[in-house]
């Protein structure tokens, strides 16, 4: 019975010589993004300039933060439809409280915290009541939007001086510009990356996406992790709202309608599977840049009617996804 080890020697896995398959979609997105930048650069004057690239980040800082939070939720196999509304809620809260004369040091935690609380509610509904994430967060979406209207049906300008200072802080290096919003977004991306890859919480997020049942039977803290993923997303949406308030210096209850779709699209374009378990924050950032680039191209084109704008966005999206798909397929 007991024959032993030596026969098994030949079976060790061969060292991967090529890129790990898991990185393929992200690399795919990156390649397509680079291609698009180059094509744009040859097609439009002033396109491939530091100013345009800087603006890509400045204009999308809030979306980057949303996408980071969304990545957590999608990695667990869930989805968060509320982020657009929560972002609006946070901008409205920021604007309304600043208008009421509270100092930013008080307002900012409240605005972000509003997102955290809603995220917590989502997590509890999804995990403890087993409401499907899509529905729980859809309800959250209506709820946050409703709160926006209650707080401020009309748009509110932000005139607070110290908030304005914070918002308009810009660092310039040559043609490159970095706003406070971008800086915060990059910090969030860095944190997101660290948390996902270097904490047990992060790895459990992946484990749940790979199989919730398995994660549970492995004795991983599924409940806590799942709830926390929604809390992260809610908090990111709150922070995104703050960034948007800094970006637009106002609070408006109709902000961010359908922005959740942008965030989800960014995450998925960045190579994360909606079924959960595979994907990277950095991919999501690339996804945001892809969407931003599409907008930029549209503006540079400058001749598109409203309907061609929509069609071209769709077509560019298709090209991105299809190219990424082809790049991924051919390697497997």
């Amino acid at each position: 019975m007991a024959t032993s080890a030596p026969v098994r020697a030949s079976r060790s896995l061969k060292i991967p010589t090529r890129l790990d398959r898991r990185y393929l979609p992200v690399v795919g997105t990156f390649v397509v993004l680079a291609l698009m930048l180059i094509v744009g650069g040859t097609r439009y004057e002033n396109f491939l300039t530091p100013a345009v690239v800087s603006n890509l980040f400045i204009n999308n800082a809030h979306l980057i933060v949303l996408a980071v939070g969304m990545t957590f939720v999608i990695l667990t196999g869930g989805i968060d439809l509320s982020v657009g509304s929560v972002l609006a809620l946070s901008t409205v809260v920021t604007a309304a409280l600043l208008q009421a004369g509270l100092p930013p040091a008080v307002v900012i935690p409240l605005a972000v915290g509003a997102g955290t609380v809603i995220g917590l509610a989502h997590g509890v509904m999804v995990h403890y009541f087993q409401v499907q994430p899509f529905v729980a967060t859809l309800a959250g979406m209506f709820f946050a939007r409703g709160l926006c209207f209650l707080i401020a049906p009309e748009s509110i300008a932000i005139n607070n001086a110290s908030f304005g200072e914070l918002a308009s802080w810009v660092q310039i290096f040559g043609g490159w510009r970095m706003s406070s919003g971008v800086l915060i977004a990059l910090v969030v991306v860095g944190l997101g990356f660290l948390v996902l890859h270097f904490t047990r919480f992060g790895r459990t997020v992946y484990a749940i996406g790979g199989g919730e049942q398995s994660a549970l039977l492995m004795g991983l803290p599924v409940a806590r992790t799942k709830v926390l993923a929604y809390v992260v997303s809610g908090t990111c949406a709150g922070l995104g709202g703050l960034l948007f308030a800094m970006y637009s210096r106002s609070g408006y209850s109709l902000t961010g309608v359908a922005m959740e779709l942008d965030a989800i699209a960014a995450v998925v374009i960045g190579g994360t599977l909606l079924t959960g378990g595979t994907g990277f924050v950095l991919g999501s950032v690339l996804g945001v840049l892809v969407l931003g680039l599409i907008q930029t191209i549209i503006t540079f084109e400058g001749t598109l009617s409203s309907w061609w704008t929509k069609i071209v966005i769709g077509v560019l999206l298709l090209i991105f996804v299809a190219l990424q798909r082809i790049l991924t397929l051919r390697r497997t």
């Binding site: 002033n46 400045i58 300008a157 109709l254 503006t299 084109e301 009617s305």
Partner: protein, 310 residues
């Protein structure tokens, strides 16, 4: 995707001047959410043509402020001569307008105002006065029906949108002191379909509606459908007052199904062209240019209909 394809030539890339006589104007439209908006866009595109000495860069923000801000930023980096836009929201434009100012590019607002403490950030604002429109509608109602104890329902525009807020405010202030009473008010999101569903609900709920005030023609047209389906005669059993005066609305007015329409003129192109030229030439322009809005009753509509442009 052809015209913009060639690398842009000549002097259009540097801001400030229009040495070659052609004015490059970057226009950021709100979106294409209604027929009114489409007419507005068309007017601008038809006026700011090469024959008229313009090169128009147009972009559609799809109702998103962030798209609009990014479009304006992009116009600044592209170095257009003039920037014009219809803001999605009133607030939040200071930073980007400051950037435009710093780059020496004049800005003109159309259709909707911005809420800014610094009036020097833009040259001029061309557009209707939404409060005034609501007032005109309300005044007509007060004049016609005061003393008859009319019960009115209101079909509001998109919750939170400036025209909806202002028109409601204007209408309410105008009927104050009369015995016209608004018994119900609900949003119809400026669309015909929702106008119809909401009106159906009102008809289920109230037996005694005398008047509908709709924030735009489309919702009014939807209400007409609902009223007819309930076996009543729009314009007779239930009076209808709306704002906009788009073609379908005017037709319904002429047909007697609507009783009064306050115009909201979308043809801002000529005014915009005019102001842009003046601004480039360094002439003084008025800060606020209120577009002439007419109002039509049924007789006036029959007369005006054949010659309406939109």
């Amino acid at each position: 995707s052809d015209a913009g394809g060639e690398p842009a030539g000549g002097g259009e890339t540097t801001g400030g001047g229009a040495d070659d006589g052609v004015i490059t104007l970057g226009f950021s439209q709100v979106g294409a959410e209604s027929g009114w908006r489409a007419a507005n866009t068309k007017s601008i595109q038809d006026t700011l043509t090469e024959e008229n000495g313009f090169e128009l860069k147009f972009s559609d923000a799809q109702q998103k402020q962030e798209n609009q801000i990014q479009a304006i930023r992009s116009y600044i980096t592209q170095g257009v001569d003039v920037i014009a836009f219809s803001p999605v929201v009133e607030t939040g434009w200071d930073p980007v307008l400051q950037e435009a100012k710093a780059a020496g590019i004049p800005v003109i607002l159309t259709d909707r105002a911005v809420d800014s403490s610094d009036e020097t950030l833009y040259e001029s604002f061309i557009g209707s006065d939404f409060v005034k429109e609501g007032e005109m509608a309300g005044e007509w109602v007060a004049e016609q029906y005061d003393g008859e104890g009319y019960k009115a329902v209101e079909l509001q525009g998109t919750t939170g949108a400036a025209p909806a807020i202002d028109r409601k405010e204007g209408f309410e202030s105008a009927i104050e002191g009369t015995d016209v009473e608004i018994i119900d008010s609900q949003t119809g999101n400026f669309t015909r379909a929702e106008g119809k569903t909401v009106m159906e609900g009102f008809l289920n709920k109230h037996d005694d509606i005398d008047l509908v005030f709709a924030h735009n023609d489309d919702m009014g047209l939807g209400a007409i459908e609902a009223i007819e389906a309930a076996g009543m005669v729009p314009g007779e059993d239930i009076k209808i007052v709306t704002i906009d005066a788009v073609k379908d609305g005017m037709q319904a007015l002429a047909d007697g199904k609507i009783n009064y329409i306050v115009e909201c003129n979308p043809l801002l192109g000529p005014d915009l062209a005019d102001i842009a030229k003046k601004v480039i030439a360094g002439e003084e322009v008025e800060k606020r240019i209120v577009v002439q809005d007419e109002a039509f009753d049924q007789a006036a509509a029959k007369e005006a209909l054949p010659t309406r442009e939109y």
